[in-house]
Symmetry: D2
Subunit: 282 residues, 4 copies
């Protein structure tokens, strides 16, 4: 069933829901899902509606025009999307395949509702797996002494494929700040997390040495500050002293792939609203 | 902050949210929390608003009157509650203290926002613990040959204390059907759960014999059909072959007390909406 | 590092550990992992040792001969395996690919230490995915009116490939009792589980109608009694009223594939000991 | 059933298990539980046996003497404890009661097998609750300008009560280093944990601002370096944007009390072995 998704964030005040729901009701909009959140800390209001496209008398462009005055009145950050327009996703990977394989399979079995435009990798290892899925694979090696040409090429490919989302499926390279800010809240990363966190190299080794009992993963939007962007999803898995570092890494892979898949799905379904560094995931 | 909670379930159709939010906005109602759910299976719509009492020009009775025509128009099952009116809770227990002690402590430390009117038990074991909290304790023994007089007394006490909620905190007796239906969706029970479930006596023993890896608990409303009422909350805890039956029972107690406390809180905050046997927990 | 795995179950009595560890020490065996469990309910003792192969003065056949008298003295059910001999696994699937794809990827990326001899399916849908991995694919359609020929062919293929393990990766057909008993504790199945369990058709539908909050999966050995075999692994995932039946099925797939992968790994590493219907998973 | 617990950590080499199990078998020791762990990273071996006291021909002192030569041969860190000798526990608390109330109830209902010698607090708030349990309560206020006299008094009380374990049940004060090192691996603390961790004040506030999805707690031994001691147990609970900071704090309390109770139980049962900063929890 084709729906429009109306996603709104704005300063909180009386009358927002009334205005928006009146607008929808006056056009006979059939709401299949509605979520609201009033955030006390920031004083902002967040809202997401899913509306049956066939219940409305107009298409998405006319919707946009008709809704604009309301959006202006309430100083809304807003967007409306059409589920008939699949989002174009660019996946980036390195040598490790667990996240990439999981996402490709979910896409292949129609679980992830998107278009995967291409895969970009700094290694050539995963080409065959990607191409079996009928997806273009670009090998863009990164020269550690001069990364600029590689990232220029990455940037060009992302633009050429008109990517709406970039997923770092264990890409293992830090994107340049320009790319991060150009695609703010559109680049999704996954990385391991611990309680407490371990700073520096070999975090699994450090975690093992302190008897850590939980291995976690965090899916977040990439910002210029490394691994400090708004969090979309997290989870953990239990480990014990009898798990070797290799076991812990393996458990880490499992939780990474699950958390990334969930985070990407929330993004594709326009469920993630960001204000400052805070996320609302409807 | 004092709020009114407006809780609605009705057949789904276009315009419900618009009508309700217009009503609230026209009276300047400041919504602090709003939740909606449209249930495809049943075609029902569920809605909960929390509104600052001091933003409205009238009290709860006037609210009720003013809202009644809307409720009628949409054939709503609805209620409005006032957080200034604490719900009166009757706790029922037997010999095991873990759930009772946990609830009493949460109440004592102002975590549970309710009035605990009394504790009724078929044994006298927990009297001292209850009375230390300044709560009346009624010992109503149940004669296995003739349970009727005991349940008549239980029923009388529940009425005398004007209970709005009855919590079976490991009461271990089956309430008579009349009481269940008189207090439909007002009697909360907790019991252990397994994957898969084990029918008959000694479920922990059966579970151990099959190498079960998870011990769970289910909090639900009591209905005439035993342990088949609408589910409010569930959780599990992991066990292994190295856990004895006693260990499993102990893990079971922990998950029971946590799940019951969460379930009761959801009920007290008017977060649980029931339609048929399905729950919506906002 | 090549190891031998010595796995023992026997009636419990004084001196078992001393006898076994003396035997190992007298041959200079370097134990890298050792697990013991004394089961009070059954009076049985379970034991698993992992020993560096290069620390021993003899190979696995000589080990077997030398150890046999001890095994006889204590009436042991026992086996010794060599990690240099990868176990031959036959995977069986139907149309749903999530478990199969997950296992194939784990094998392909060297996470699962086994040989996948072939995939047998009652449908032809997954052939291309399997053959990309270089694994033979057998399409054995099952005639609902006469299943016998199909199962005869399945049985023949399992024998021809000298399968040591058969994994029902959502095979959706009930194996005939002869096959179950011939491959006792060698056929691994995965199925969804709920708290409480729902009997009959459309369990997700039933679960949704009762407001279930947890979706689970159980990995177990197949026995003649359907879905009642010894449990190897279980897990759950949280759902809410806002999840549709389709969402619940999707969550179910995720937990199924994780639980099956863990269960198979435990089996391949000779960590699962069975006595009666009880499992010890070291 | 009375048991002796033999707990050993030593450099790993061939023959340890044989030597220990021979010793036990030669004295007819009936092992009810045995756990071994060989740690590759450190090259150490860890071992815990639980032995029926009535199966042995001697008491704990004779056991100690008889075992000493073996312990010396293998340079063991070791101890043997007798379940008939309950460990003396001193609880320390501040104003928050959730951990203290939970531990007291577990003790009161015979779930925690220990003697609670006294409760020490820098506030007088929890006196009545503690004294209802028949346990002495010491109010030792801490002067922020000069903490030394308070900690001298704490130290005196801990010694006077011959504490074997000190539990910081949300004590909220940093113990002086001398006390930490005098009671190394005997002082248990609980504190909240996040993924990632948040440095500085108001961690829940910071976590909320970044959209954190999991709230955790870590139970660890206190060392001179704050919150960096060996980890005994951890767990998490899921939160969402709809949870206020107060909700997150409340979830935090629940996970803290569960994790502390499990950690203390493992310690009381001599299940926690420490080597460097690593824990083995059998």
């Amino acid at each position: 069933m084709r729906t429009f998704r109306l996603v709104i964030a704005c300063p909180d005040r009386v009358g927002i829901v009334a205005k928006v729901s009146n607008f929808l009701a006056s056009h006979n909009g059939w709401i299949t899902e509605a979520s609201h959140h009033s955030d006390n800390l920031s004083g902002w209001f967040f809202m997401r509606h899913e509306i049956r496209a066939d219940s409305l008398p107009f298409g998405i462009e006319a919707f946009r025009e008709a809704f604009a005055p309301i959006a202006e009145e309430f100083s809304m950050n807003w967007r409306i999307t059409d589920t008939a327009q699949k989002k174009r996703v660019v996946l980036m990977a390195s040598r490790e395949s667990h996240c990439l394989a999981d996402l490709l399979h979910r896409w292949h079995s129609d679980e992830l509702d998107c278009e995967i435009s291409c895969v970009i990798s700094n290694h050539d290892d995963l080409r065959s797996m990607v191409e079996w899925h009928g997806i273009p694979y670009y090998h863009v090696p990164v020269n550690p002494q001069d990364k600029e040409p590689a990232f220029a090429e990455v940037s060009r490919l992302v633009k050429q494929h008109e990517a709406e989302v970039v997923v770092l499926a264990r890409y293992m390279q830090i994107l340049p700040p320009e790319l991060c800010s150009e695609y703010a809240h559109k680049v999704i990363n996954i990385h391991h997390s611990f309680l407490p966190s371990f700073v520096g190299a070999k975090p699994y080794h450090q975690a093992s040495l302190r008897g850590v009992k939980l291995i976690g993963a965090t899916c977040h939007y990439v910002t210029e500050e490394l691994d400090a962007g708004p969090i979309i999803e997290q989870d953990v898995v239990r480990v014990s002293h009898s798990d070797s570092i290799e076991d812990m890494v393996r458990f880490g892979r499992d939780v990474e792939k699950m958390v990334l898949a969930r985070g990407l799905r929330y993004h594709l379904e326009d469920r993630v609203l960001v204000h400052g560094n805070k996320t609302v995931v409807f």
